[in-house]
């Protein structure tokens, strides 16, 4: 009798041990808010905030920035879902705005408003407005985001020409702007106006290295977006200094990052538009040091096809004609490169083309001497370039 009692007690103790832990840190997925987009703007106090502040619901803060979190899916009651499965909610997301001077504090303020706490694992896109980035260094703005354990380093960083909140809004029903923006960068194989994606970890390394860098620019109009150009951030301040246009990016792409696709349009001598589709491009930046003089030489070779030719009457695609066209395209590319180099060296005086990297690799000693004030030094360095384009085919046209 006594023995079996002990036996039962022992088993009970073992079971209790497990049950005691309970569901340790369990948090059901439907009880948290997944945010996929984060927009950072200069302070714009929302109607709601103004309303509650009138009732004294405020806390000490400076109005520095407005954070917009994009929560998906919008919280709907079960009843609503059951009532009409055909009537989809007009928006597939929910944007929440709060203002403050510390991002983490703003995030925690959300807990006062929503029953579901925010989790950042699924954050895909951070959009910083150029206005905010002009005033504050990215190092300051991103400090919390880089420290946070939830947010993945693979999160994409974009800069918006206007309001970041707008960049995270859309009129398209069922579209989640953050996912849409994250998907756009995958189109690099179709356009050379998209720079390689800058993720949080790349942003961090760029900021640590002290060199200037680019962030893809989002332009919005009527709640619709477009990637256009890129924002330039100066290495010394990490602040937004200006923008490169689409055309500049095209020029930059020839030597700074591999061209995987796109369209190079120019005009034939007769005035008709002709378009070249680069398929395979190689580029090389060759630094040269003679004494104290540094210079760069850019070598670009590209293969592609003639994809569109408006010439009328049609000119047969003979080898000679191709040579002619190649010359035209080369001329156009030279123009683009010249333009972007001009902008980099003389307008913004920053090196965002990767010249510093080549110099550092080939001439580390020289680099050590000039790295302190590289952006200024770079502005006065002569750069030469040569372009070799080759039309390998002209599509399935058979004339």
């Amino acid at each position: 009798m006594k023995r079996s009692l002990y036996f039962v007690l022992r088993i009970a103790a073992a079971i209790l041990l497990i049950l005691n832990t309970g569901c340790w840190s369990s948090n059901e997925i439907e009880d948290v808010s997944v945010y996929v987009g984060l927009g950072l703007d200069v302070a714009q106090v929302s109607e709601f905030e103004r309303g509650i502040e009138k009732q004294g619901a405020s806390y000490p803060r400076e109005k520095v920035l407005t954070a917009t979190v994009q929560i998906v899916p919008p919280i709907t009651g079960k009843g609503q879902k059951q009532g009409g499965s055909s009537s989809t909610p007009s928006e597939a997301y929910m944007n929440e705005k709060l203002t403050g001077d510390s991002i983490i504090q703003i995030f925690r303020q959300f807990s006062l408003r929503r029953d579901r706490p925010l989790i950042g694992h699924h954050l895909k896109v951070i959009v910083v407005s150029s206005e905010l980035a002009k005033r504050y260094s990215l190092e300051q703005i991103f400090d919390f985001i880089l420290r946070d354990n939830d947010i993945r380093p693979s999160c994409l960083v974009l800069v918006s020409h206007r309001n970041a909140f707008e960049a995270l809004s859309t009129n398209e029903p069922g579209e989640v702007p953050a996912l849409y923006l994250a998907g756009l960068v995958d189109n690099r194989y179709r356009s050379n106006k998209i720079i390689p994606p800058v993720t949080l970890i790349k942003l961090d390394s760029a900021m640590q290295s002290g060199s200037s860098f680019l962030l893809q620019n989002v332009v919005t109009a009527q709640n619709d977006h477009k990637f256009s150009g890129a924002g330039i951030f100066k290495g010394s301040t990490k602040k937004w200094v200006g923008e490169l246009s689409q055309l500049d990016l095209e020029g930059l792409s020839w030597f700074s990052f591999d061209v995987k696709g796109g369209a190079l349009k120019t005009y034939a001598p007769e005035g008709y538009s002709i378009t070249y589709e680069p398929k395979n491009s190689k580029s090389k930046i060759i630094p040269k040091v003679e004494g104290n003089d540094i210079s760069f030489h850019i070598k670009v070779s590209s293969e592609g096809r003639l994809i569109e030719d408006w010439s009328f009457p049609e000119i047969p695609s003979s080898g000679q004609y191709m040579r002619e066209l190649e010359k035209q395209f080369e001329k156009e590319a030279r123009k683009q490169i010249q333009q972007v180099l001009h902008k980099m060296q003389h307008v913004y005086r920053v090196d965002v083309g990767g010249f510093n990297k080549q110099l550092r690799i080939k001439y580390p000693k020289v680099w050590n001497k000039v790295k302190e004030d590289w952006d200024e030094t770079f502005s006065n360095i002569p750069i030469t370039y040569e372009i070799d384009m080759k039309i390998t085919d002209f599509g399935s046209s058979t004339d």
Partner: protein, 545 residues
């Protein structure tokens, strides 16, 4: 004193130290209590009325004592007669239903009453009664199986077992004629182990049929069938089969020892034998494989295993067992090696799913939403809107109802079984989702899990995984993925320790035997499997012999 950690840390460290010790002590206590409960029992008392008296030879007193011993059994018939040509009285004693009435009529009653003793012999044995029995056996009764018995007890036991007893006046001994002729069924395809390709034979309930099936598999002198008798009250024949020149003799010794140590009143089914001779009673994993297929037994014997066949059940036991065996099907070998390997791989994967899928679901949903791909996470959130239970309760509801459905499916009479299965599946799958009790995603998980667990060729191994699945869910609910990992490690450490008749359970993975891997995840072409598995330590290592 600041270097001392504070007390809560000390308590944690203490608990961490004490809990494994407690667990080990606990399992030791359980083991011990199991052992003592096995050992201590009283010997069965011999039945009183059946005291062993010799057959006297006096007909009246003998028949009276037989009547006294078994005459009150409803199915015992006594047919008295006089042997033709003499005045000698005789009696046939038999059990109705166990004996063949035709045999009694044509081969016993007819010769005794109609033919009787031939005239020239009539006088020869009048004075020597013993020569009468020789005459009966040699010249009168045309039956192959016939035995002389002198004791009353042996006589009655033989009759109750299905033999026909012949008591003859003046003889101090009796004859037991014929063998038990209980009903048996035909050799059919086994229900629990159906194959698309392979022999359609299965064992039956009759031991002699089953050993016959093994013998008939092919001409083979090395097949040894050793007979044992088990059961203290009800005696049953048990046959240990092995290949004389393949099996490890130590294995045969060990199995023989364990069979001889079986102490139970009646081993009803081979499951009794399995549970009485297995190594680890507390393990959820089976340490003997049961099968209804003669081809599986033969394949096992050829690999250096042994098999146990028990009278009265179509389930043979193959031993020793390794984990990989439970996921192998004879079809792996009958198909060509590429499809065979693919299907085997699939089975390993399905076993993993059957074990871990709901646990992973719980831990992803409740603990690590960040690990789900974003778009999937979004659709899960949408489908889980309004589900009132945490994922653990939700998964428990579904898993338990699936198990109930499965169990009910076995019990249901055949005509309504499939119908009820469909109805049950519909109710559980669709109505539960519509009612908002569970999320549609979980239904998929549970369905996949259930289907996966049925891919395991050994049904009882599937049950093991199903039980463990619930433990896994519990661990996942308590600690998330960390709990699942701990649970998996616990299973692994248990499996590594477990042995089946001296063979490590997870061999050839641990201990490592590369050449045995040819028949583990990938079933290599038969031509490259030249050696018998080393893990069973076969005497003849070369498969080609």
């Amino acid at each position: 004193m600041s270097y001392l950690p504070n007390w809560s840390l000390l308590v944690q460290a203490f608990l961490l130290l004490i809990i494994p010790i407690l667990l080990v002590l606990l399992s030791r206590v359980i083991r011990k209590s199991l052992k003592t409960s096995m050992d201590s029992h009283s010997k069965p008392e011999k039945e009183i009325g059946l005291t062993d008296v010799p057959i006297s030879g006096t007909y009246d007193s003998d028949i009276a004592s037989i009547r006294k011993a078994i005459g009150d059994q409803a199915d015992v018939w006594i047919r008295e007669m006089v042997i033709r040509g003499t005045e000698i009285r005789a009696a046939l004693v038999y059990v109705d239903g166990l004996t063949d009435n035709d045999l009694i009529d044509t081969h016993l009653i007819a010769p005794l009453i109609l033919r009787g003793v031939a005239e020239e012999h009539r006088t020869s044995f009048l004075d020597s009664p013993l020569s009468l029995s020789t005459y009966l056996m040699e010249q009168l009764i045309p039956v192959s199986e016939i035995k002389k018995v002198t004791g009353l007890q042996a006589f009655t036991e033989g009759i109750l077992f299905g033999k026909t007893g012949l008591l003859v006046e003046g003889l101090p001994e009796t004859l037991l004629i014929g063998s038990a002729n209980g009903k048996s069924r035909n050799v059919e395809e086994p229900m629990s182990e159906a194959l698309l390709r392979g022999p359609r034979t299965g064992f039956t309930e009759r031991l002699s049929d089953n050993t016959g099936l093994l013998r008939r598999h092919g001409q083979n002198e090395s097949l040894v069938l050793t007979k044992f008798e088990v059961g203290s009250r009800v005696k049953k024949s048990l046959v240990l089969a092995y290949m004389r020149d393949i099996v490890d003799p130590n294995l045969v010794d060990e199995v023989t020892l364990r069979i001889q140590n079986i102490d139970i009143d009646d081993p009803i089914e081979s499951g009794y034998i399995e549970q009485l001779i297995e190594d680890n009673v507390l393990s959820p994993f089976q340490q003997l494989q049961n099968t209804e297929r003669p081809d599986r037994v033969i394949a096992g014997l050829l690999e250096g295993r042994a098999a146990i066949l028990l009278d009265g059940t179509p389930f043979a036991l193959v031993l020793p067992v390794t984990f990989s065996m439970l996921l192998q099907s004879p079809e792996d070998y009958y198909e060509r090696w590429i499809p065979g390997s693919f299907i085997r791989f699939l089975r390993f994967f399905a076993a993993l799913l059957a074990l871990l899928a709901p646990a992973l679901y719980i831990s992803f949903i409740s603990f690590h939403p960040g690990l789900i791909p974003t778009k999937l996470a979004l659709s899960i959130i949408e489908t889980r809107q309004g589900v009132p239970f945490p994922s653990f309760i939700e998964a428990m509801i579904m898993e338990i109802s699936i198990e109930i459905l499965r169990e009910a499916g076995i019990r249901l009479p055949k005509p309504i079984g499939p119908a009820m299965g469909i109805v049950g599946g519909l109710i559980i799958g669709d109505a539960a989702v519509n009612a908002g009790i569970v999320s549609p995603f979980l239904v998929i998980v549970v369905a996949v899990t259930a289907i996966s667990s049925f891919t395991i060729p050994v049904y009882s191994a599937g049950i093991t995984l199903r039980i463990l699945r619930f433990t896994g869910m519990l661990c996942a609910a308590a600690l998330g993925l960390f709990g699942v990992v701990m649970f998996f490690l616990l299973i692994c450490s248990h499996l590594v320790r477990l042995k089946s008749f001296g063979v490590p359970y997870v061999s050839p993975i641990v201990p490592y035997g590369l050449s045995d891997w040819k028949d583990l995840f990938i079933r290599f072409p038969l031509k490259s499997m030249k050696k018998r598995p080393f893990m069973f330590n076969p005497k003849d290592k070369d498969r080609r012999n």
